[in-house]
Amino acid sequence: MEKRVVFRSAWLPYALVAPQIAITIVFFFWPAVQAGWYSFQLQDAFGERTQFVGFENYRALFADANYLQSFKTTALFSLLVAGAGIAISLLLAAMADRVMRGALAYRTLLIWPYAVAPAVAGVLWLFLFAPSIGIITFALRSLGIQWDWVLQGDQAMLLVVIAATWKQISYNFLFFLAGLQSIPRSLIEAAAIDGAGPSRRFWTIVFPLLSPTAFFLLVVNIVYAFFETFGVIDATTQGGPAGATQILVYKVYYDGVKAADLGGSSAQSVILMFIVIALTVVQFKFVERKVQY
């Protein structure tokens, strides 16, 4: 869509886009190019000499068992976060769509976790699950479950999945609720007149009509789990124990900032950029088409 009526000026439009473009170049494009450049270099420990090494950093990464493990960890983490988040919020949204009494109150009380920073969400759950003083740790122990995520890798994973999912439920809930409310009531009424019960109506009418929303949320949640959960991980497990919760973004940070491996970290950055590009393309293709059945 284009406007036919436009203004004319030789310099004004450039002045108007200048601030945005300047920031984009200085803080986005230039660093991205530099990441690409560093990824072909090897630096000595003191950062004095650099050497061009071609694809050596990439080769080393894919030969590194830790890096490959980090891929698996990220995949597991994002699938768990997306799956649990979507399932729980779909249930809540379906219930909220049914009730009329107190609908606004329910919505208000379910959406506030969106406002909590991932790092703060991590701290809240860290406190509940703390190995010696946590209240949930205590409850689990009285049920006979030994809980110590500092030593147990899968328990650490469970902790970060819970914290990350908890924060994202409100987001999914709002989108599902909007999706549910846009389904024409006449369809559901017709099915009810034909004698279909609530659960049958849900699975044969409502759920298929919601599938575009669900697919959209799947992509958004995976992007969230890949990148925005850095705060959750850093505030709780810091990638441990023994790399059990070291997702890709955390490894870029750890190798670059803590271990000062500039070349290796930059190569990881470049690989991550390709992952973001792939995810963005998937997301936009979907949004363009607006899948409907």
Binding site: R8, W112, F127, S132
Partner: protein
């Protein structure tokens, strides 16, 4: 309501109430912990009813922060930093995006599409994937430990630019034509017609971007080495010691309450704008 099924309605309410309780439980425990002494919290299991240390804990963190093990500096200062950062990011993003999309929609000029695509591509370059080089750029510009360094690299916004562009495309052409016939220049048209029409979009975006700015974590963590520039979210992380016993959990939890309250209030009080902003920025 399609049909009357009282048991299903009861079931719905039960599920929703259970959901609210589960979602709210961490917040409740945090609140309780922030009103107790450290000794109360270190008793296993910790008491689950609020104590009488509310005033004591909150005034301690706001005035001096934690002192045992790690000195964090006063949280009041962190709250101020968070507020400055969140407002600067929200206003900055809105300001530079609205003028950029105004230029892209209401002018024809060479490289117009090129600029639009440049802004679009920033969507694919989140700060998390270019940590070290961006840090170097900011360090070379001498912006470490400054508000400019904390905010400027984050205010480019593809989503806000899109949102305004979509909205401007729906502004009737007759308005621009009428303005031109009446002899109004482009900036006059911007101030008197476009900006007032964009009020609701601006409000919706403001809520989303305020929360985004307040909740920033990775970037402030890299850029602030001086505790007086720390934001509230970073401050909490710095208060936690490895090993449960050394951490002053009562004060950490009071800080957590303080750090999550402003954005949570914004979401709940400006719910209408929030929902709208959330749905629109994702289009």
């Amino acid at each position: 309501m399609i049909e009357n099924r009282p048991w299903l309605t009861v079931f719905s309410h039960v599920v929703l109430i259970a959901g609210i309780l589960v979602v709210g439980f961490p917040l409740y425990v945090t609140f309780v912990a922030s009103t107790r002494t450290l000794d109360d919290i270190l008793t296993v299991p910790m008491p689950l009813l609020p104590g009488d240390q509310l005033w004591q804990n909150y005034s301690t963190v706001l005035g001096t922060g934690t002192t045992r093990g790690i000195t964090s500096g006063p949280v009041a200062r962190m709250m101020l930093n968070s507020l400055i950062v969140a407002l600067a990011i929200a206003f900055g993003k809105i300001a530079i995006s609205i003028i950029a999309s105004f230029a892209i929609v209401f002018f024809r000029f060479p490289l117009r599409n090129f600029f639009f695509w440049m802004i679009f591509i920033t969507l694919m370059l989140p700060v998390e994937v270019r940590i070290i080089p961006t840090f170097k750029v900011v360090a070379d510009l001498g912006l470490i430990n400054s508000y400019v360094g904390l905010t400027l690299p984050l205010i480019a916004s593809a989503t806000a630019t899109f949102l305004f562009r979509q909205f401007f495309l729906t502004v009737p052409e007759e308005l621009a034509e009428a303005a031109r016939i009446d002899g109004a220049g482009p900036m006059r048209f911007f101030w008197d017609v476009v900006l007032p029409l964009s009020k609701t979009s601006i409000a919706a975006l403001f809520v989303i971007q305020f929360i985004y700015g307040w909740n920033q974590y990775l970037w402030p963590l890299l850029i602030t080495t001086d505790e007086s520039m720390s934001t509230a979210v970073i401050g909490i992380k710095r208060m936690i010691n490895t090993g449960d016993a050394l951490t002053e959990w009562n004060l950490v939890m009071a800080t957590a309450m303080l750090a999550l309250l402003p954005p949570a209030l914004v979401v709940m009080l400006m719910q209408r704008w929030f929902v709208r902003g959330l749905v629109e920025t994702e289009k």
